[in-house]
């Protein structure tokens, strides 16, 4: 594996849009393709030429941290108000899960719990782990980490379940006095969290997993 050369070893870079392969110009700070101060563009289609996703670590970290920060109010603030004839009930995510559980809908409670609590947390942990291990260039369980990344990307949007539930209920349950459902600020934060983590996983470049310097050199 270490014997086989990679594009960077050959001084080549491909355009991701039109497929044109270009050569790096050694000596030119902007065109040497070493990943430092590069400012290359495809001579044919004009799109930026990058060896890895632009600024992947920083962007992923920034978006992940932002998502995590917003995840706190998303859990603390109530996301939904259920107002019936004699009762106004503000529910946070976890209180909704507890309510479903005590009401006997254990299956629903599990679904909501998984979608709203487990998945975001899993995303934070997985992406954080991927970022740290990739930065360190660890060669531990690389294929599994790659699989994990694909999983994270796939399940990312399922976390929007809660947001959809609130949106649907708000639209459907509108019997003015008898009962109504109103979204509360928590759901906005939760939605932002989900979007930001999705962006974070998008901005993470899985190729970084394989950029182990130890094995490369």
């Amino acid at each position: 594996m270490t014997a086989l050369p990679r594009a960077v070893d050959l001084g080549l870079i491909g355009c991701r849009v039109c497929g044109l392969v270009c050569r790096n110009v050694a000596g030119d700070e902007r065109l040497d393709g070493d990943g430092v101060d590069d400012a290359m563009a495809c001579p044919r289609c004009g799109s930026a030429l990058r060896r890895r996703k632009w600024n992947s670590y920083a962007r992923t970290w920034a978006l992940l941290i932002a998502g995590f920060i917003l995840y706190i109010p998303a859990n603390v603030l109530p996301i939904m108000r259920t107002a019936s004839l004699n009762d106004i009930d503000d529910n946070t995510i976890i209180s909704g899960v507890v309510e479903l559980w005590t009401a006997g809908s254990a299956d629903l409670a599990v679904i909501v719990f998984v979608a709203s609590i487990v998945v975001p947390m899993l995303k934070f942990l997985s992406l954080g782990m991927l970022l740290v291990s990739s930065r360190r260039g660890s060669d531990w369980a690389r294929p599994q980490r790659a699989k994990l990344y694909r999983l994270v990307e796939f399940i990312g949007y399922w976390s929007m379940l809660d947001v959809f539930v609130v949106a649907l209920l708000t639209a459907l349950v509108r019997f003015s006095v008898l009962s109504r459902v109103e979204p509360l600020p928590g759901v906005i934060f939760f939605g932002l969290t989900v979007v930001l983590t999705m962006f974070a996983s998008m901005s993470f470049d899985p190729r970084l997993i394989w950029d182990g310097r130890n094995t490369d050199d």
Binding site: L12, I13, N24, L31, M40, P43, G46, A62, N86, I88
Partner: protein, 561 residues
């Protein structure tokens, strides 16, 4: 594979490949860090906002947590949410519940001394219905801010909403009454039958001898409470029978059921400056007493009745010539060792001022004479003129007695000590007692009648009578019967003699005929003599041709025997 093979088959020389062009990045890489910074700012702002919103935490104790819900039940002031119940727990001795309330920042002023908290639940009472909205929205805790600035975080919740909220326009007054009657917190206060306020609270006086009610009269009607206003208990129905007939007087139906207080200025000239806050008034039992002129100083008098006062109860009226001047306050038995009797001591309170101008005149008279114009002196003079207390029957059906101070003619002379304490009014037996006495006298006299000997004599007489009757039966009656038979015989013969075909009757008829004839001839003779008086001397002349007729009716008198 094909691509690989193509690459392998036709490996382009590295230098033949185009070199990339330079394109400057428009964004700095570090700009991406604005995203978490923004998120952090939002989070921070939430925390700050929350911190700003968090007000003081207070604990309110209630008798029961009925209707309260941790995390949900709001605390409201003027229907604005100022806080929320955080949790509910029992006190350590389980006697009440402690409700922790998180007030909002803006409601810091509610964590001060004097703030009152109570639970608003639906209430249905005689005075009305309140808190109906909480049927649907659930109970909430009502708050009313106090005046103090001293902060406090433990409160005792009221069990019922306070009648008057702090800062309401109006004034409160204090009413003193003997008892509470049917009044309650929230009972209406009426002025000319318009509700202008309500009873805010009540409590027993410190000495337990009365009740103090705090009432609140809403502005701007509080100006009608003047220094001389009279308050009376408007509960119930006032049924009076007067010379004009039956009169039923009530306040509104709610007041009849739930009680109420009414006030009005007395008639006539009076001080009509508005009464200041917390002025004390007396609460009268009814309108008539309230509107009556003031009673003035009460005087205690005592009366000593020698006879039974059955039917004389405490509160029985004391009347002077029919005017109610006071009431009986005590009826007690006493023992007189000398006379070996049980006199009854009746205590009464009289208000001489109720006599009105009469009393004023008596006073003036006493002053003219240079005497002490005291009740004792005045009454002493009246007693000398025969004023006595009598227990009289006020109601023949129930036998209720009242005490009448009246001038008794020919009253026995009584000793009166004007300096005695208490003042003792001599008594006279009442009209009913007198009647009883006279009845007793009659019975006594009847007792003296020798009914026994009368009976004996009567018996003897009756025996004699019996003998007489026997004699009558045996002897007199047969003789009488004999006599009667004789009489009957006589009557029979008389009847025979008088019957139509009897010889006597016939003879009588013949006789009468003859007499008739005789009378006719006599008339002829007298007529002739009338025409020819000379015939007496010369004798009858030869008959002339008959011209004179005999009269048709001969005079009857001459016919009768």
């Amino acid at each position: 594979m094909t691509e690989d093979s193509r690459v392998e088959q036709d490996p382009p020389s590295r230098d033949a490949l185009p070199r990339p062009v330079v394109q400057q990045r428009r964004f700095k890489e570090s700009l991406i860090w604005l995203v978490p910074v923004l998120a952090a700012l939002v989070g921070l702002s939430l925390v700050i906002h929350n911190w700003m919103q968090t007000g003081p935490q207070i604990v309110v104790s209630f008798q029961s947590a009925e209707g309260l819900d941790a995390g949900k039940t709001p605390v409201k002031y003027k229907n604005v949410v100022i806080g929320r119940v955080k949790n509910i727990r029992l006190s350590s001795d389980h006697s009440h519940v402690l409700v922790s309330v998180a007030l909002e920042k803006s409601a810091e002023g509610f964590a001060t001394k004097g703030t009152r908290y109570w639970v608003v639940r639906p209430r249905i009472g005689l005075g009305g219905v309140s808190g109906i909205d909480t049927l649907f929205s659930g109970a909430f805790i009502g708050a009313d801010v106090g005046e103090s600035n001293q902060s406090q975080d433990e409160f005792t919740g009221l069990e019922a909403p306070p009648a008057v909220s702090h800062g309401a326009l109006g004034r409160s007054f204090v009413l003193h009454s003997e008892d509470l009657g049917s009044l309650d917190v929230g009972s209406p206060v009426y002025y000319r039958r318009i509700q202008v306020g309500q009873v805010a609270s009540y409590k027993l006086d410190a000495d337990g001898k009365g009740v103090s009610l705090q009432i609140f009269v809403d502005g701007p009607n509080d100006r009608f409470v003047t220094a001389s206003s009279r308050f009376w208990n408007a509960s119930g129905v006032d049924l009076s029978v007067g010379a004009n007939g039956l009169k039923l007087n009530t306040q509104s139906l709610a007041a009849v059921l739930a009680g109420g207080v009414a006030f009005q200025d007395p008639p006539g000239p009076h001080d009509s400056t508005p009464a200041p806050q917390d002025t004390s008034f007396q609460l009268f039992d009814d309108r008539a007493t309230a509107m009556a002129p003031p009673d003035g100083e009460p005087h205690y008098i005592r009366m000593r009745f020698e006879q039974s006062v059955r039917g004389l109860a405490v509160d029985a009226p004391v009347e002077f010539l029919g005017i109610n001047i006071g009431k009986v306050v005590s009826v007690r038995l006493d023992y007189d060792r000398k006379m070996q009797k049980f006199p009854v001591l009746v205590g009464a309170v009289v208000y001489p001022k109720r006599l009105g101008s009469a009393y004023d005149k008596l006073e003036a008279l006493a002053r003219e004479r240079g005497e002490n114009p005291d009740l004792s002196r005045t009454i002493g003079r009246l007693i000398a003129h025969g004023l006595r207390a009598q227990a009289r029957t006020g109601n023949l059906l129930t036998g209720q007695l009242y005490v009448a101070l009246d001038f008794v003619p020919h009253a026995a002379k009584a000793t009166f000590d004007p300096d005695a304490k208490p003042l003792t009014i001599p008594t006279a037996p009442g009209s009913f007692d007198k009647l009883q006495e006279q009845m007793a006298n009659i019975v006594d006299k009847l007792d003296k009648v020798p009914f026994d000997s009368i009976g004996k004599h009567l018996d003897q007489s009756l025996a004699g009578l019996d003998a007489t009757l026997k004699q009558v039966n045996g002897q007199t009656l047969p003789a009488f019967k004999h006599t009667l038979d004789g009489v009957q015989q006589t009557m029979g013969s008389a009847n025979e003699a008088l019957s139509g075909d009897s010889p006597l009757q016939r003879n009588l008829g013949a006789t009468l005929e003859q007499v008739q004839r005789m009378a006719r001839s006599l008339r002829v003779l007298t007529d002739y003599l009338g025409g020819h008086p000379e015939a007496l001397l010369r004798g009858r002349r030869a008959d002339s041709p008959p011209t004179v007729q005999a009269p048709p009716n001969p005079p009857r008198q001459e016919d009768k025997p």
